[in-house]
Amino acid sequence: MIVPRIRFISFLFLALMICAGSAMPSLAQAADVDTTYFKAIPVLQDGRVKPLDSFARTELRRFSGKDHIDGKDAADWLAQTLFNPAEATQEKIFRIENANTRHLLGLEERKIPLYAYSELVPGLEKTFPSIEDLVTHPDKNMAEDQKSLLHVHENALEYTRLLRSFSLLLPLDISLSDSWRKKAGLSADEEITYLKLKKIDPDIQDSLKKIIRKKGKDPEKYSDKEQATAMLGWQISTIESAAARNDLLRVIPDRLSKDPDSYLAPWEIVNAGKGSPETARILDMWQDLAVAWQSGDPQKWTAASAKIAGRPSVSIRAELVYNLIQPFFLSTIFYALSFLFVLLFLSLRSVTKFLYPVSLGLLLAALGLQGLGILARITILERPPVGTLYESILFVGWIAPAFALLLEWRVRNRLGILCAGLTGAAIGLLGLSMADEGDSMKVLGAVLNTRFWLATHVLCITIGYGWCLVSSVIAHILLIGQALHKLSPPRQEELRRALDLLALTSLLFTATGTILGGIWADQSWGRFWGWDPKENGALLIVLWLVWIVHGRVSGEFSRLIATMGYAFLSVIVGLAWIGVNLLGVGLHSYGFTEGLFRGLGIFAFIEVALIGYAGWSISQSSRRRLAA
């Protein structure tokens, strides 16, 4: 009997490893230059000051779906993009999964659909007229191919803004006559940059006016020197128009603003008149950094990047450590291993007694890592960690295993650890699948940005979700255990008692959280209840629990029906928590995310089939026993 068990467990182990491997961030090779200080430079993006490391990861993930490329980490890629844009455009970083989009853009088919910007340019130019039509249509009316094409154009635009972030400082491939060099104060071998050319722009414009007055606007009639002057004027205006409204890379502290977290993009200094003596000094530091990168001088690079980074703040340092450790990925692995080992222990108890303490240790490590990750997020964002859908998943993914561990401490039947490992791994995988959608640490909208309601209503509801999920897993264990005749009657009774308590606690938190939500809605939106999908979802959980609990108490529901009802909480919570966001309507649609519809549907179907089959199997067994 041991051999089939081992085979089953081996397959389970393989499946879990495959799931973990698909979410695994591979370790990028170290860069040739030390990017430690470069990563710590603060940048303002999406209303939040973050380290350049996070900015680089967000941008690279946006283009390629990963935070590393060709063995280089995101910071290394960003440095090349900023300081060597010509070479950077040859890097294959644009992931285009849609085959029709690749065909429209005239791209060759590849095993891994990654393309360089230089390869995209001809296709982007060809398809630009159709994009202009598309942008007038709302998203929901677009076909998948159209959305994909628009997405590529948006990414390309973002990329060009990144490429041009420091174009005012980088050497230009422009020939300048000796007289213009002298006027600009440049020595014979000094590099020409836009900022240096800009100083002589009034003189160039003056010369151009004289040329046009004398010879008209036809450059064919100009002398070589006059043509060179006209070309120079045109080049300056081309660089300026290419960088118009380029405010992506806000790395220069705005000392003239009363907001201490106000940062400027380099081109804002020129375009928006935000320059000051301080920005002149800072731009010089960035120029030194660019020169150090281009010359490949690691010492100068380290010195220049350290000077710009200065003393990083606590939240920047916390975020750098958070990015390095990736606590939620590691904790998911540990949850999965804990689940696996306790499963092995329960199956091969007499052979492998050490698996239980190992499993417990892994679970504690997972909880510790995940807890630290949540604490890090609180430190970085300076608010409770439940403001977005992703954050609620992280929080519930910690609460549910923690409650399950509490249950294990009370009843010591190993099933608590099993439940903890399963919920932690499952919710962790869900969280990892959502982590790729841009920066996971977003600044909240005004209605969410009140600490009191974030800490009370949202925490209460998410704790309620956690209790509900633990109840559901315990109910599943009870159903599957009974169906497979693996649970003794005392163990079944133990689980039923635990389930009754868990259900009541779930009801307490979800009901309280729902009422608090109504009070918050009344203060923020002027009404207690608006039949918003999220509100309806929360009410659904409360009503479901009330129905099952009352049905059980009144005797209307048998134990089996009640257990099936508790097991189905997983679907109810899934619908209420994530499903309503798929609707994308209502005041709560700040957590809208694509791609989960199919997953949720498959999950609900599996649950209905599993719970239905287990219930039928148990009722058949009972009937046979009674008949006997």
Binding site: L256, G273, K274, S276, P277, E278, R451, A455, T456
Partner: protein, 190 residues
């Protein structure tokens, strides 16, 4: 009894948590996420204004630091800049009237002395007369060493208001109605 105590403890913890978050929220109000809040004119971080030398319209060699003790309006402009031309007379009149506490240093980016002189000659007689007021200094920075290198000015007109202790008070980008706003920007000293 034990379950009842546990429930009571739970209720107490919940109430305590509510009270704590309420107190924390009142003690530290949420930070604004918008960079645009507050009045339009920003107050600078009191950076020192870099010193520089210049030659004024009278041919005198001067330094910015020579004017410590008075507010300084450091105005970057050029005669080929439309908004600069429009606001110039108003700026001259407004600062000439506040000779006791304001100094105007108007740094022109004109490419030639003749262009600057021609522009000044085109002004009305009262403006020409006021531009020679003891607190008004007009200079040319054709190499961009003050305008571009030192003060990072690339859009004209730009004006930097400097405190009497030579720290930067604020920066104004674009033309301004000086006759209406000079007293708001630099309150008169009593």
């Amino acid at each position: 009894m034990k379950p009842k105590i546990n429930v009571a403890l739970l209720i107490v913890c919940v109430i305590a948590a509510f009270a704590l978050t309420q107190w924390l929220d009142r003690a530290a109000p949420p930070r604004a996420t918008s960079l645009q809040d507050g009045p339009a004119l920003a107050i600078a971080a009191r950076d020192a204004a870099p010193d520089f030398s210049f030659t004024d319209q009278r041919g005198d060699n001067l330094n910015l630091s020579d004017f410590r003790g008075k507010y300084i309006i450091l105005h970057f402009w050029a005669s080929y800049c439309g908004p600069c031309v429009v606001e110039f007379p108003d700026l001259i009149k407004s600062t000439a009237a506040r000779g006791k506490d304001i100094t105007l240093i108007a740094v022109s980016s004109d490419t030639s002395e003749s262009a600057l002189d021609a522009f000044l000659l085109r002004q009305k007689p009262e403006v020409r007369k006021m531009s020679s007021a003891p607190n008004i200094f007009i200079t040319r920075d054709h190499k961009g060493q003050i305008t571009n290198d030192l003060y990072q000015t690339y859009r004209l007109p730009e004006t930097i208001i400097i405190n009497a202790d030579l720290t930067i008070r604020e920066k104004i980008v674009g033309a301004t109605d000086w006759s209406r706003r000079i007293d708001q920007i630099i309150p008169p000293t009593r």
